[in-house]
Every structure is written in structure tokens, then in C-alpha cells.
């Protein structure tokens, strides 16, 4: 199906009114401006809630489609559970309640009425709910309350369910995509007959997330488990993938939780096991969110705007005609449309931008801002010579190739770019990952940003102290870390392996 991309090009003038801030000068401001000007998202009139704009949503849709296929390929089914969580449900699991109570949107009434003292509407005091409803910050409670009726026997297990949904956490300091009061996500909630199966599921889904981050987002991640301090409220173990952003800060890109029997116990989800005994079911939950959009921007983009890995780019190739007369445009269009058709036949999404209201130089800058991976420029000389100019967004390099081989070249180029963007991010991470064994060095290095691999004595106390003194947190205890006797970088006590420290989003 051919989609019309013209919307993405609207509101052109404001975005180009001045250059982007530079990453080196103000990374945070650069991020905000890229997100807004590239048409990904903007703040809404509702505090902390964002509007995801069409171009941003098109990228999110590609992420969703890919992840959804991966979930289904691993045996999961989608379902949908209510937006509201009764307050009494949230109270049931103590740690969970403590973790989410402080940032809840609470529904207390179900009706407005005309203000008797003036214009407008007021909350109708007679329409007060008997029990308050919380707008879901996550759905373990509602879902496990439902699972009670779905699970009777080991034959009903495993129960492998996912939902795509919006959730609300009343964050006080928000940032587009990275931390918003409302965000979109998926949450997997599975139930298993044995502890081992649940742990395997937790790890399997972490693997799916890592696969997606690395092979689709072109973003290398460290897989690991959280320290007890950083665990999801109610989890026995939280697995995570951690990525390094260009400013040297870490970003948690996805989590997968082994929940043990905590939720089964409080919601009384028991099943008859193979030995004919009643047992509580074992749980996992796992999620990624629109936060990945922020990670994507911060991992790859540059001072000219977005850099998108081809696999997630809504427009993979744009063709810009370079012409003086309408006659020339007609001649160029014929060739351009032919190549566009060929590219589409090869499964590549293409936009031919023959909009006459903007100059080609302006278009070049606009598509760079929007991160379109490949730009083709075609002028009358190209038509005469049977050539086209190919520019790649990641390296900003150009070459002129014969039209005959252009499609093959572009196809190969898109694959190369996907790899190359990943390799660049990987190299950046490697250059910014340091073994640190000395506390003074730790304090120095953390200022430079990056991942610090250091020994830790395993206590929450030390973890807290390090955070207080340096703002660094334990991002994870890597799954692939080797046993290596050492001394805690802070306390000097014994340690058996290194963990990853960083300042984080």
C-alpha cells in the first residue's frame, strides 16, 4: 500500500527558523529541540502529558509492530485489561503499593454538573465513588485478580499474555518520551507452574528486548539484573537492558521481572499441580515503553537532527529533484518515479518530494532533521548521464551512481547503515566504559560520563553512599560478568564481581 507522507512535511517553516543547539553545548536543550522540530512529540496543555506527533508515532508503530511479532513468535497473546485499579487492589501487595502510591492519578467522582453559582461545570459532590479508582500505573494487580478465575490446573499454564496500553505515573519532573505522566507501553504478564519456568520466561523476554534494541534500534545494551534497591516494587528479581547515551548517561531501556508468588498469594491464584496439590502460580511481568523513542534519539542523532536506523525509519529513501523549469521537473519526475517504484517493489519506503514551494537546499536540511536514511538528488545532468546522487544520513557522505545499479546499491546501503549505526554506538560505548578500582578515580571518571565497571560490596548502604556522593547508581549486575575477586571501590570490602555504575536518565 502506498502511503502519503506529505503530512510529515507540514509546518516546515517554524522548524527551520534557526539551527539546532549543539550537543556539545547543551545536550538537554538539543534533545528537546530535535524531538520537537523533527515532529516526534511536543508537550500538551495537560501537565506532564505529551502529544506524540504523526512522524514520531510512525516510528513508534514500527517498534510496536516488530515487538508484537516477536512476542507472538514466543507464544504470547494480546488481551486488554481495565484502565482503572481499585484502591483496595493496589493496597494488597505492600511493596507494590508503596512503590506506586506516591504518583497516582486518583478518580474520585463520576459526574460533573452545571455550576449553580455561575458558569461552567463543577464536580458533582453527589457522584462520589464508594471506592477510589487509580489510573493504572502498571497492571499486575488488576491482571492477577483476573487470573484467579483463569487458572485452576497446571493444564491452564503457562498463561502468556501481553497488553499494549497507556499508563499514568504522576512524575513531578517530566521530559518528552523519557519521563512523562502518561506514556504508552506494553506489559507482559505471565503465569507459570514452576519457579524455573517463570525465571526462564523472565530471561527469555529480556533476550527479546536486547535483540530488539540491538538489531532494530541499532543500540547496544548491557543485560543484567538490578540491585535490590532498584528492583520493581513487588519483584523478586528485576532484569534490565541498559544503554549508553551520547552524553555519557545511562538509560534503562526495558525491564523483565520475576515476581515469584507474590501476586498469586495476595490475589489467591492457586492451581492443582501435576502432583495433585494446590500451589500458588509463579509470575513474571515485563515492559518497554515510548521511552524507547527517547533512547533512539539520544543514541544516534547529531547536530543536524535525527539519525534513524533504516529498519525503524518511516521514510527510508527520499528523492529530491533539482530543477529550474517545470519542464525539467517533468523530465526528472519520470526517472524519479521509475526508481521510486523499483524501490517500493523491493520493500523500501520511498517519498518523492516534488513539492514546488520549497527549494532543494531547504529540503535537504529538512530530511536531515527528520533522519531519513538515504536521500537521492536528481538534476538534469543526472538525467542526461543516467546517474543519481546518493547521500547517506549517518555519515553525511555522498556518491553519484549509475541509475542501473541504484536500487541494488541502496538496498545494500540500507543494510550497511543499520550495521554501521550500531557499530558506531558500540564503539562509543566501548570507549566510554572503564574499569575503575579506586574511589578517587571513580569520582573523577563519573564526571566524564560513561559506564564504570567497579567492585561493589553488595550492600544497600554502600550503594546509597555512592549515589549521594556522585549521583551514580548501579545500572545493573551484568549477566555475562565473570567472577573476579576484588575490593569494593567505596568500602574496600570483598567483592566477587564488578557491576555497572553510571549516572542515568
Amino acid at each position: 500500500m502506498l502511503y502519503d507522507f506529505s503530512f510529515y512535511l507540514r509546518n516546515r517553516t517554524p522548524s527551520m527558523s534557526k539551527g539546532l543547539p549543539k550537543r556539545s553545548e547543551n545536550y538537554s536543550e538539543w534533545y528537546n529541540e530535535v524531538v520537537k522540530r523533527a515532529g516526534l512529540a511536543e508537550n500538551s496543555a495537560v501537565r506532564g502529558c505529551m502529544v506524540i506527533k504523526p512522524y514520531g508515532f510512525a516510528i513508534w508503530e514500527k517498534m510496536q509492530r516488530t515487538l508484537d511479532d516477536m512476542f507472538k513468535a514466543t507464544g504470547h497473546q494480546n488481551a486488554y485489561f481495565p484502565l482503572f485499579v481499585p484502591k483496595s487492589f493496589l493496597e494488597k501487595e505492600e511493596e507494590h503499593a508503596e512503590g506506586f502510591a506516591k504518583e497516582c492519578a486518583v478518580v474520585t467522582h463520576y459526574r460533573l454538573k452545571a455550576d449553580p453559582d455561575g458558569k461552567g461545570l463543577i464536580v458533582d459532590p453527589e457522584a462520589k465513588l464508594e471506592e477510589e479508582l487509580i489510573v493504572r500505573p502498571t497492571s499486575e494487580t488488576v491482571i492477577w485478580n483476573t487470573y484467579r478465575n483463569w487458572i485452576q490446573s497446571w493444564r491452564d499454564l503457562p498463561l502468556l499474555i501481553n497488553q499494549w496500553a497507556n499508563v499514568v505515573r504522576w512524575e513531578m519532573r517530566t521530559r518528552l518520551f523519557l519521563r512523562t505522566a502518561e506514556f504508552l507501553w506494553q506489559e507482559g504478564h505471565t503465569a507459570h507452574a514452576t519457579e524455573q519456568e517463570a525465571v526462564e520466561e523472565t530471561e527469555r523476554m529480556l533476550g527479546v528486548y536486547a535483540d530488539f534494541a540491538e538489531n532494530w534500534m541499532a543500540m547496544p545494551v548491557v543485560q543484567g539484573v538490578k540491585s535490590p534497591n532498584e528492583r520493581f516494587a513487588g519483584a523478586i528479581e528485576t532484569y534490565c537492558i541498559e544503554a549508553l547515551m551520547q552524553d555519557g548517561k545511562a538509560l534503562q531501556a526495558g525491564t523483565s521481572h520475576f515476581l515469584g508468588q507474590n501476586f498469586a498469594r495476595v490475589f489467591d491464584v492457586k492451581f492443582v499441580n501435576k502432583e495433585n496439590q494446590l500451589e500458588y502460580a509463579w509470575a513474571t511481568s515485563w515492559g518497554v515503553s515510548t521511552r524507547l523513542m527517547g533512547a533512539l534519539v539520544m543514541a544516534h542523532s547529531d547536530d543536524k537532527g535525527l539519525v534513524l536506523p533504516p529498519k525503524l525509519a518511516p521514510i527510508q529513501v527520499v528523492i529530491v529533484p533539482i530543477h529550474k523549469t517545470e519542464e525539467d521537473l517533468a523530465t526528472i519526475s519520470e526517472k524519479a518515479n521509475a526508481i521510486a517504484d523499483e524501490l517500493r517493489a523491493a520493500g523500501i519506503s520511498v517519498k518523492f518530494d516534488d513539492d514546488d514551494k520549497q527549494r532543494s537546499g531547504w529540503k535537504f536540511a529538512e530530511y536531515e532533521l527528520k533522519g531519513v536514511p538515504v536521500r537521492l538528488a536528481m538534476g538534469m545532468r543526472d538525467v542526461e548521464n543516467g546517474t543519481v546522487e546518493i547521500a547517506r544520513r549517518d555519515t553525511l557522505t555522498k556518491e553519484t551512481v549509475s541509475l542501473d545499479t541504484a536500487v541494488t546499491t541502496i538496498r545494500t546501503l540500507l543494510e550497511q547503515m543499520q550495521q554501521s549505526i550500531y557499530q558506531r554506538a558500540l564503539q562509543f560505548r566501548e570507549e566510554n566504559t572503564h574499569l575503575v578500582d579506586d574511589w578517587e578515580q571513580f569520582k573523577l571518571k563519573i564526571e566524564e560520563g560513561g559506564f564504570l565497571l567497579a567492585h561493589w560490596d553488595g550492600t544497600a548502604e554502600t550503594e546509597e553512599k555512592i549515589k549521594e556522593e556522585t549521583k551514580a547508581t548501579i545500572r545493573c549486575i551484568p549477566l555475562n560478568s565473570v567472577e573476579e575477586a576484588g575490593k569494593c571501590v567505596y568500602s574496600g570490602r570483598e567483592s566477587a564481581k564488578r557491576v555497572v555504575f553510571a549516572r542515568a536518565y
Copy 2:
């Protein structure tokens, strides 16, 4: 990609513990039981909110995917707007406010805290919002407030945006899919430079809905406009598609609204037109919801359970082996898997149910309940003869065919069934649509159900009276109705055309 459908078959025992109620005896109870037992949805612990179960959600996903493609093919882009509507936004458009104020979920606080007087959590009185937030019942206000910054010039128009979202309307009497406090839907919100373009868009999207209802859901619909009484709150004109259910009641299956400049005016969305003058933008909005799931069930299903049009069936073909020994099963499986592969290669979704814990008779009933369009049964005699038994769900007829031609037969059969299910519904509607010119006859006929085509004098007063006396409402003034001078069936006053009356969901 091969999906595992095994989940859909869990919880088998409860669903089969007794037969379904009969439509003729208790239609309403029959509907609820089909929805629950076929695994489409169930009530949640949250008043009026449903859980959409995996099998139901798989059907909804097919609907979504199809509609989404249709929206994109007509030039629309998806985006996402906040869940919350500030109270002051809702107040702005007076009719709109009046229409939705009475059924709002109102967020008044953003934090819970530990109850100082006991266990559990209470709403923190110090965390009261300055302005209450309404959980969106629809998003015109939030979206038009955003459009103010997106629209400056006629070059920014048309703006063609859709969002897939959850919405909340605090209905007092709820019913799975048909009327729930929370439901899933899509809402298109477009802005145009001229009245004519906006009206064309409104009609275009009604056409898309009618196309989807008839060619995918196999459900014939009448396209028309609502009487002023039944318009969307804030609309100038509401177009709708109306379908007839098997119990003779009408169901509004989708609406498309021409909103004029109402929302542009209250949210100050002006643009410079081609004549260089400032003008308010013209608006449309249009939506369909999970209510379509209810329509799908009530349009086609029978006393044995769901009947699904093949295009929307998550499993189109199920293969059930009939065997006595494990050896026989192995022999049958080889043939069954071969035909399953062939069917999949032809783009047909297939489940081979070799589960050994249930007998084949049980499986037959279960797949009938779940509405799988085609069932193949294969026993040892079939293996010997090179045949397979094909049963179709809609007519419950069977035939035995040669394995060589089975794939072609099934492919043709699925297409025929799609047509045939539509034709059956169309015939039902035709048999239950009556021209009525006499008030006594009207009162008699309305008891039998169906669409009554009658003259109406065009006044809200008459419409109200008819509703009071018969519970029938004007479903729509059909777009294709011919001018025909007549007398109002109730008042006897002059009328220029017939409208459709019915009792409705």
C-alpha cells in the same frame, strides 16, 4: 510467522459444562454467554469495565489492522493525544460539555498516602489538583487545543489525523462490548480549509466504515444522517451506519461527524486562507469502537456459538484428527501437517489440534462455539482413501473431498462463506424491513422488531412522542432515500421522505 493458538483452547471445561441458551428463548442471555464462553470478553472487578480476552482481542486486532490500512490509504496518519481533558476544556463548547458532563470519570488528586489511622492507603488531601482532569470521553477538545499551534495557513490543511485509544464514559447500565464504561476505539480528527472539503471527508469516512462493515464484518448497513436529537454533542451533522441484529434491534456501528467551525471557534484555530484572510478551520471527527465486536456476534452467531466471517477469524481452518491409537495419530499428523503447511502458504491461518486430552467430539463443539469457519476432520479411513472431511461453520454442512483438491476447495469455500454470511444477514434485514404508513400498524410492527420505513414530519416533538410510546428511535435518515411525498406516520403532517425507525442497542 506461525502463531501458537493453544491459548485459545484453555479453560475448556467450564465453557462446555452446559449448552448455550437459545436465541429464541433469551437473546440477551444467549449473547452474554456466547461472548464469555467463546473467550471474547468478561466483566472485570472494576464496575462497567471489561477484560477483552485473547481470542476476542485477536478478532479486534484484525479489525484494527484492516481499518488502520484503510485510514492510511485515504491519507490519514496516526498520532497520540493525552488521556486527560482539563475540565476547562470540556466547558468550552457548550453542547459538547452538556453531552458528556454527566458521565465523566474525574481525577481530583495525584497521590495516595498511608492511612494514619490504620492499614492501607488513603487519598492524600494535600495532593489535590488545582483543576480537575476528566478521563477523555472523546478528544475533540484536547485535539483542537493542539491544532491551534499546528494550523496557520491553508498550506497546513487538510490535517488528517487518527488515534487509537481508550475512552471512558460512565455508563450506568453496561453490557460487554455494547456499552462499557471503558472501551477501545479510534477517533479521527481532521481540519479543512473549506466547508465542502470537511463535508466530503465526513462522507468519505462514513463510506470507509460501510465498506468495512459490509466487506469484512459481512454485516449490511444503512448509511444515513441522524436527526438533530440524536446528533453527537457539538456536531452540525452526524452521519452513521446502522445494522440490524438478529433480535430485530438496530445497532449504530459507526459515526462520522461534520463539526463545522464549532471547535475551531472555541479553541481559536484560525488560518490564513488562499484569499489571505483569517478564517476558522472546518472540522470532522469519526469513530468506531469495540462495540463492533458486539455487532459481529449479534449479526451472525447462532445457538451453537460464534459464526465469524472468514476475513476476521483468527483461526480460519482447524484440523481435528480422529484416531484410536498413538500410531494412528502419527500417521494422520503427517498428512494433516502437510495440508496445514499448504494452507498457510496460501495465506490461511490454520490450527492443527492434536491435543490428546480431549476427544474429537468435544473439539468439534468447542470450535463451533469459537466460530472457526472451516473444520477439517481426518481419520484413518481418510488417510487410506486420500480424503478429508470439510465442515463449514455457517451452514453446519459437511462434505468429503480428495486431499489433492482440498486446498483449492477450502480457499474457494472461505470466499464463498464470506459472501454467504453477508447474504444471509442481508436477507434477514430485507425480510425485517417494512414500509409502514399507519400508526396502529407501526405500534404492531415495532413489537416484531426490524427496521420500519415511515414518514416523519421532521419535528423533535414527534420523534419524542414516538419514542415514548414505542421505544423506537429514528436510526437515521438514509442517504439513498428517495423523495416521496407522504404523511407523518404519527402526526399526519406533510413529509418528503421516509426515515428508518427501530428499537436500538
